[in-house]
């Protein structure tokens, strides 16, 4: 008995067909006979079951009441609507295409099954209607109303004439990155509107998005949507697994970020016709998430622009914190892709421009602090400045604020790390974190802090106030610095004495913080702008001025406060008075004599016989001692 004959017989048995036993029996010595015997038993078993089933079907059909076998008659009218055809069905109701005879237009109606008498269901349908009604957006399906006729409740929606994205991918194949970006942008706007209304969609997928005949992208099916506030407290799951963010799948923690994940999967699907995780069952999906199995988009579509792939991959990051925080952020990222419009010049020019700008700012700061140093010492024209000196002073002046900035980031980093570790380690922390953020967001919403003008005004007020406070606190020191040392009263000059170096350091630290703060306060504003809000230029200008002034206060006195560390002036005796040589010009020297009556500056000839050099170099304000 050949293998082929055996296979054929097995298939015939499995299909309930009659088997040519002679082919099996004829040359059947030894073990082959055993095979034939076993197969006969199997064949009998199949035959028995098939006969019994046929018998059962026959008796069932004959004895069942006619009403049960006939198709359940569908209603053809519902209130003022004439139901045309059923276009969708689920456990709790059906979706019909219907004709509104009063307004003479097509509508889509989701009607609960008659059997479903549960008031909770009605409540849920009402909730969906309310959710949709709150979200007024061109890219979200419009709700027309909720009606009850007889014992059935239905949700009336606009009828969208077109195809779902799933149909489009099925009919036309994979989309290009440019098409996907356009669709993605519309869906980001739709989701932003949904989230702004306080809802989470939770079932963003190709089948729930339609492109109507005019090309409008419409997000639909809010059946699984849930108010975000209710969501924070509840843990449950809804949605389609392949589109569900891991945290939503595991813990039912749906959030705007899990909607972002679903949208990312949708984009992935549009361009690849496939999903980032390949799994057939939920268990397989869970295992894939746990093992961080993931098919990079670049494997399926290596021809796509890298920037597009980066955006999609970030949107579907397994860790919610690595994803775009909001649909607005994703929209900004999609808008920034530019799909190849950026030239190489731009790519390489930008870093060069940045380096140049930093260089210029440092040189400018150096020039500023050097110029103000010369002016305060009243030695303009006597300066000993080399050409590169402003740059050197600029770098020196910038080191400590840069160091401080770094320290602040280093101090912040552990906070961020600890938060992430806690969130990863405990689901309680995770929900606490989520609810905290939600509360913060809703508090911000109540205070209208999610609008750029309000938030920018606040940022401006805070930075101005902080700078004014710092200015007020250091007013004595500032006035000592601003008045020329030649004529200033001695008690003011005492503030510049090296004995008060603590005060000088404090001044620098405080103003460095003021500068960093005046930049940081704009971060939330920038985030709002990246989510699509416009930014009035006036605010930008005002913010730049405040930051610029703070930077000036930080930098201009640097050389005066710290010159002695680098280039202390030589002490000389002139006509028995203790003086310092603070500048030179051709044959003249400029002396600063702290013990003399103002003006304390003297110009003497270099070869003046009454001039005696001591060779000692020190701070010219040493003699003023500690501040009063």
């Amino acid at each position: 008995m050949s293998e082929a004959v055996l296979d054929e017989a097995i298939e015939q048995i499995a299909d309930g067909l009659s088997v040519d036993w002679s082919a099996l029996d004829a040359p059947a010595p030894g073990r082959a006979r055993e095979w034939a015997k076993s197969l006969r038993v199997l064949s009998d078993i199949v035959k028995l079951h098939r006969d019994a089933a046929a018998d059962y079907d026959q008796t069932t059909l004959a004895t069942m009441p006619a009403t049960e076998t006939a198709a359940v008659a569908e209603p053809d009218t519902w209130g003022k609507y004439r139901l045309a055809n059923k276009v969708g069905e689920g456990s709790y109701g059906s979706v019909y295409r219907a004709w509104d005879s009063e307004l003479e237009r097509d509508v889509a109606i989701k009607i609960l099954h008659r059997r479903v008498g549960d008031t909770r269901l009605r409540e849920r349908l009402l909730q969906e209607g309310r959710a949709l009604a709150k979200v007024q957006h061109n890219n979200v399906v419009r709700v027309l109303g909720i009606e009850a006729h007889g014992d059935r409740v239905g949700l009336c929606m606009e009828f969208v004439r077109g195809k779902t994205l799933a149909d489009i991918v099925r009919d036309q194949g994979r989309l290009s990155a440019a098409e996907a970006v356009l669709i993605g942008q519309d869906l980001c706007r739709a989701l932003s509107a949904v989230h702004r209304a306080g809802f989470i969609h939770r079932d963003v997928k190709a089948k729930n998005v339609m492109r109507d005949d005019a090309g409008r992208i419409v997000l639909m099916d809010f059946g699984t949507g849930r108010a975000a506030e209710a969501q924070a407290a509840k843990s449950d799951r809804a949605g389609t697994p392949l589109y569900m963010a891991p945290e939503a799948l595991e813990e039912g923690q749906a959030s705007p970020r899990s909607d972002v994940y679903s949208l990312g999967v949708l984009l992935y699907y549009l361009v690849s016709g496939d999903y980032p995780v390949n799994a057939r069952t939920i268990d397989e999906l869970r295992a894939a998430h746990a093992n961080r199995e993931h098919r990079w988009l670049s494997e399926l579509r290596p021809d796509l622009p890298v920037a597009f792939m980066q955006v999609v991959e970030r949107a579907i990051a397994l860790d919610p914190d690595e994803r775009y925080e909001t649909a607005g952020d994703l929209l900004a990222a999609l808008s920034n892709i530019g799909l190849g419009s950026r030239s190489i010049l731009w790519k390489f020019g930008l870093p060069v421009l940045c380096v140049l700008a930093i260089f210029l700012v440092i040189a400018g700061m150096g020039a500023l602090t050097s110029a103000s140093f010369d002016r305060i010492l009243s030695r303009v024209g006597f300066g000993l400045n080399q050409r590169w000196e402003p740059l050197v002073w600029g770098i020196r002046a910038s080191v400590s604020p840069a160091f401080m900035l770094m320290l602040m980031f280093l101090a912040l980093a552990p906070v961020v790390v600890i938060r992430r570790v806690l969130i990863a380690a405990s689901s309680m922390m995770r929900s606490l974190d989520a609810s905290l953020r939600l509360r913060l967001a809703s508090a911000a919403h109540r205070a209208r802090l999610d609008e750029v003008p309000v938030l920018a005004s606040c940022a401006l007020c805070v930075s101005s106030f902080v700078m004014a406070s710092a200015w007020w606190y250091f007013a004595p020191l500032l006035s000592a610095i601003a008045s020329g040392v030649s004529t200033a009263p001695p008690e003011q000059l005492a503030l510049l004495s090296p004995a008060n170096v603590g005060l000088h350091n404090q001044y620098r630290q405080v103003f460095a913080i003021v500068v960093i703060l005046s930049l940081l306060v704009w971060y939330p504003v920038i985030r709002l702008v990246r989510r699509g809000q416009s930014f009035p230029l006036g605010f930008g200008l005002a913010g730049a001025i405040v930051t610029g002034v703070a930077l000036l206060f930080l930098q201009f006195p640097y050389r005066l406060l710290y010159f002695s560390l680098i280039e202390p002036f030589e002490a000389v005796t002139w006509r028995d008075a203790q003086c310092y040589e603070i500048g030179a010009r051709e044959d003249d020297l400029l002396l600063f004599c702290p013990g003399s009556q103002p003006p304390r500056n003297r110009v003497v000839m270099k070869n003046d016989s009454e001039l005696k050099r001591s060779g000692i170099r020190e701070n010219i304000f040493s003699s003023f001692g500690k501040r009063p």
């Binding site: 296979d7 048995i13 499995a14 309930g16 073990r31 095979w35 015997k37 076993s38 038993v41 199997l42 078993i45 028995l48 079951h49 098939r50 019994a52 089933a53 079907d57 008796t59 055809n85 276009v87 969708g88 069905e89 689920g90 456990s91 709790y92 109701g93 979706v95 989701k110 059997r115 269901l121 349908l125 969906e128 969208v160 004439r161 077109g162 195809k163 779902t164 799933a166 149909d167 729930n208 339609m210 005949d213 639909m220 099916d221 059946g223 699984t224 509840k234 449950d236 799951r237 809804a238 949605g239 389609t240 697994p241 569900m244 799948l249 039912g252 057939r280 069952t281 939920i282 268990d283």
Partner: protein
């Protein structure tokens, strides 16, 4: 003949519906689970693609949550195939239509009460679980008939009547060989054989039950399993 029945699983093949929608218990209480079809508003209308019905796993989740609607649908889906199957297994005395229906219905409903403990791993798991429950019940019925001949009256045909039609058809020895060999197989092979030979699933339905990508793959699984079974039967 195959067209009229529904596997105790999604009626859609695994490839057409790769995923059940996961629903929460809260969802079970709402129209949230209403699957708005891809065809909503489509001018092409219905009929291109079967409307995605809820899968068994999904209904199971709902039923576990105490949703009577889902339980009803689950029964609607599982019971007919089980009844047809049980019809061939029950002894003639208990084989009237009503008896078959009652026995299956009662068993399934009582098995469903223990759903909480049932952890569904794949589409076919529930089907196997319920079939086992019905099988045990059928054995009880047969034992019951055999044990009480005096009450039922001394009938000549009693012994025969209390024998399952399967035993009558292939003989006790062969049935024993078949069942023992079946027990020795790995669960997926066993499922493939019972699904095709006894439950008479189409290969499409079987693909869903067995978690195979295509009907062809399901067919191959059945053929391989039958070979192993026939081999095993020779060693019983």
């Amino acid at each position: 003949m195959e067209s009229g029945k529904t596997a105790c699983s999604s009626g859609v093949s695994a490839s057409a519906l790769p995923f059940p929608r996961v629903l929460s218990r809260e969802e079970a209480a709402g129209p949230g689970s209403l699957v708005m079809s891809s065809d909503l508003g489509s001018s092409t209308g219905t009929g291109e693609e079967p409307l995605a019905p809820e899968t068994t796993i999904e209904l199971l989740e709902l039923a576990k949550g105490g949703d009577p609607e889902a339980l009803g649908r689950l029964l609607e889906r599982c019971v007919p195939a089980l009844r047809r199957w049980a019809h061939g297994r029950l002894p003639p005395t208990a084989r009237s239509l009503n008896d078959t229906a009652d026995i299956v219905q009662d068993t399934v409903i009582s098995a469903m009460r223990h759903l909480e403990a049932f952890e569904s791993r794949h589409q076919g798991a529930l089907q196997a679980y319920l079939r086992r429950a019905v099988m045990n019940r059928i054995r009880d019925v047969i034992r019951h008939h055999k044990r009480r001949p005096e009450i039922a009256g001394l009938s000549e045909g009693l012994e025969d009547e209390a024998t399952s039609p399967l035993e009558a058809a292939i003989g006790a020895e062969n049935l024993e060989r078949y069942e023992t060999a079946l027990e020795r197989l790995k669960p997926p092979d066993r499922e493939a054989i019972i699904g095709r030979l006894e439950m008479l699933y189409s290969y499409d339905e079987l693909a869903t039950v067995l978690n195979r990508p295509t009907a062809a793959a399901a067919r191959m699984a059945v053929t391989r399993a039958m070979k192993r079974l026939a081999e095993e039967m020779q060693h019983v």
